[in-house]
């Protein structure tokens, strides 16, 4: 296992000077990901916050080869790169024993517009790691709702009005969708736990074939949270089981240590309200008119948590609610 001292000594391949907002969760995510590299790597990225802030010409924050082409095709970018590497290696023109390929995309570029390319690349079995940095909305274009925006969140296209309490729908179970592709590795991680993130990126890179990492990364601007609380909020999401940490390796589910601790000691599971209160995108849920939504969210979290415990073969600690 890597130590923080060792990490500090590794070069920064996603460098400072980029234009991300104060307290940006995805920028923390990229720094961790780049600290986890194991050798020569090519990174490709979908259009989105991190692409925009890191590559404003003539500047770049990247010290690895990096390519962006469009919004909906990060996985297709990776497919082409991986195919080229394979072909050139066969023809002795590559010059490397192996080159890792990482595709990065936000929730809009993954849950919504990019899911076709992602599903296709997973089905074809390209050897690459896809990291979804999930900040739960189209933040770059001004905080619109995506398939990854949670129930009850107010965004500019799912505003909390006098009648409708923010986003009506629930988050799409994107990691489960990737599990259903039966790829070698699927994991969830939160930027609140750097060691876990790095370990999972490394596992994803080590996997032979497509690997998918769902990386939770708060956005203070879009979530209207304190810029100093990003990491804290990222941990609260795990502590409330809103965003549990787990992995599926070759079809086997396993909880990661932070979530396993809660599974074994259910009293440690915090109520969702604690998490929701840290973000003003949920502020309307704490008014009499919409307070029922908090219960809806709690029920949904409990249901999915219990389902996850079953998948991980852990005795259900909380009775299932209908």
């Amino acid at each position: 296992m890597v130590t923080i001292k060792e990490l500090a000594e590794k070069p920064e391949l996603f460098t400072s000077g980029h234009r991300a907002c104060a307290g940006c969760g995805p920028a923390i995510a990229l720094r961790y990901i780049m600290k986890a590299l194991r050798g020569p790597t090519i990174v490709t990225e979908a259009t989105g916050c991190m692409e925009v802030v890191s590559t404003i010409y003539p500047y770049t924050a990247w010290k690895v080869p990096w390519v962006h082409t469009a919004f909906e095709n990060a996985a297709a970018n990776a497919s082409g790169i991986e195919a080229a590497l394979k072909a050139m290696q066969r023809k002795n023109r590559l010059g490397y024993e192996h080159v890792d390929v990482i595709a990065l995309a936000g929730d809009g570029g993954t849950y919504d517009i990019g899911i076709q390319a992602l599903s296709g690349a997973a089905e074809r079995g390209h050897d690459f790691l896809y990291v979804l940095y999930d900040n739960e909305g189209y933040m770059n274009t001004g905080i619109q709702r995506s398939g990854g925006t949670p129930h009850g969140a107010s965004t500019t296209t799912s505003p909390a009005g006098s009648v409708i309490p923010g986003k009506v729908q629930y988050k799409k179970p994107i990691a489960e969708i990737m599990v259903a592709h039966e790829i070698p590795y699927v994991g969830t991680a939160s930027i609140g736990y750097w060691l876990d993130v790095i370990a999972k990126v490394q596992k994803g890179l080590d996997a032979k074939g497509p690997a998918f990492l769902h990386l939770f990364a708060p956005c203070p601007r879009g979530w209207r949270s304190e810029t100093s609380k990003t990491v804290e909020i990222a941990r609260l999401a795990v502590e409330t089981c809103i965003f549990p940490l787990w992995e599926v390796v070759d079809g086997e589910y396993a909880l990661s240590p932070q979530s396993k601790a809660i599974a074994l000691r259910p009293e440690k599971k915090k109520p969702v309200a604690e998490y929701l209160k840290t973000q003003r995108r949920f502020a309307h849920l704490f008014t009499p008119r919409f307070e029922y939504v908090v219960k809806e969210i709690q029920d949904d979290v409990d249901k999915h948590w219990n389902q996850l415990l079953q998948k991980c073969n852990i005795t259900v600690s909380v009775p299932l609610k209908n």
């Binding site: 090519i42 010409y57 080869p65 962006h68 970018n77 790169i81 195919a83 080229a84 050139m88």
Partner: protein, 409 residues
């Protein structure tokens, strides 16, 4: 005379494309099936299945991903090829521009087919015309032989370090793609030798070092970044500058290939037939040129001085060649196999009229929209067009600027 022995094979246009790509030692083919291009991907899949190629074949879930994969494969350093048609090209549209903007030398065959709606699988040129401003070089073939030859030439053109511009080779759906012809093919090793291996021009990285233009972990480059208004314009202008190098390169590659094979297509940009003393002529793209030549021959036996100019390179537009070829023409019909609805004529007409505006002598010009959705273009209709041109050349009267040929009205 050809320098090398060639074999004659019975091939349709799609098969000729697949064979040319195979012989050009392509590293990555990423494609998605669509009629009438499907034979290309099917044929290529057979080569892969039989171990006849070393190519990485990526059978994508959409044309959008197919062109994307070719684009990033090319940026990684591979020779990349794809093929599509109609709705497939329309779905690629976004990435067609991105490929040119990233200066990725992808070669793509477009088996021209009508765009929906109504859905129609047959030939017209509206698919490629929708991409004419995208920054790709466009070559249009008259027959399967030219399709084969043009795909081989396309790799050399696209990958030329001074150009790095993607090339689209167009062939008429069904008329070429599904029609068997005698095609002379080169031995594999001759094609490989002709096409060569990819060369990478040097670019400056952020540290100020000169590095080869590809995604290479030891010499990292950031490709496809965000341009604000302070740089975007210059980068788009650079594409125009690169395109201005294209005529020289297209011609050099064509002439070198002609020496090897004995086959020439006009001067590589335009292909004139019996224009030397012609007074009336048509201008067209693609396979209709074959039928038109037969009509021209017949008219000549009647003493009518008819000719035809086929545009082979539509992008970049060979302005001076067109002006020169049509200098003595009195009446000209531009044949458009696509329409610009509400545009007062088809796209080829717009461009030819634009091109001839500055010519010393300008012919009378009319436009015919023909053959949409695979509608046949029989000699009889073409004869009537020349008849009208004859009339115009005598009277100087253009009755209707834009007409539809072969449609029920």
């Amino acid at each position: 005379m050809a320098k090398v022995d060639q074999t004659v094979l019975p091939l349709n246009g799609d098969e000729a494309v697949a064979l040319a790509a195979k012989q050009s030692d392509v590293d990555v083919v990423a494609a998605y099936p669509i009629t009438p291009q499907t034979i290309i991907v099917e044929k290529f899949s057979e080569y892969v299945a039989n171990g006849e190629v070393d190519t990485e074949f990526v059978c994508t879930e959409s044309e959008h991903s197919a062109l994307t994969a070719c684009l990033t494969a090319a940026l990684t350093g591979a020779r990349a090829f794809t093929a599509t048609a109609s709705a497939g090209l329309a779905l690629m549209h976004e990435i067609v521009y991105v490929t040119a903007g990233c200066r990725a030398p992808v070669v793509m065959a477009v088996t021209n087919r009508a765009l929906s709606a109504p859905i129609n699988i047959h030939c017209d040129h509206s698919d490629a015309m929708a991409e004419r401003d995208s920054g790709w070089i466009q070559i249009w073939a008259e027959n399967s032989q030219e399709t084969y030859d043009s795909v081989i030439q396309a790799f050399r053109i696209a990958e030329h370090p001074d150009l790095l511009t993607p090339v689209m080779v167009n062939l008429d759906g069904f008329f070429l793609s599904h029609t068997l012809e005698r095609v002379q093919v080169l031995p594999d090793e001759e094609v490989r030798k002709f096409v060569g291996t990819r060369q990478f021009p040097l670019v400056t990285d952020t540290e100020g070092n000169a590095v080869p233009f590809k995604l290479d972990p030891t010499r990292p480059l950031t490709v496809g970044p965000l341009d604000m208004p302070d740089y975007y314009f210059e980068h788009k202008r650079q594409q125009e500058d690169a395109m201005s190098q294209a005529p020289k390169i297209i011609r050099e590659v064509h002439d070198e290939y002609a020496e090897l094979t004995g086959r020439r297509y006009g001067n590589s940009f335009v292909d004139g037939y019996r224009l030397e003393d012609a007074k009336i002529a048509t201008v067209c793209l693609g396979s209709v040129a074959g039928t038109t030549k037969t009509v021209v021959d017949e008219l000549r036996t009647q003493g009518i001085k008819a000719g035809i100019l086929r545009i082979r390179a539509f992008r970049p537009m060979p302005t001076e060649d067109i002006q020169k070829a049509l200098v003595d023409i009195k009446a000209l019909a531009v044949m458009d196999r696509s329409n610009s609805v509400g545009g007062n004529g088809g796209p080829l007409f717009h461009e030819i009229r634009h091109t001839l505006y500055d010519a010393e002598t300008r012919p009378y010009m009319v436009n015919y929209i023909y053959g949409l959705g695979g509608r046949d273009m029989p000699p009889k209709i073409i004869q009537n067009i020349y008849k009208e041109l004859n009339e115009i050349s005598k009277t100087g009267q253009v009755k209707r600027l834009v007409q539809f040929a072969g449609v029920r009205e």
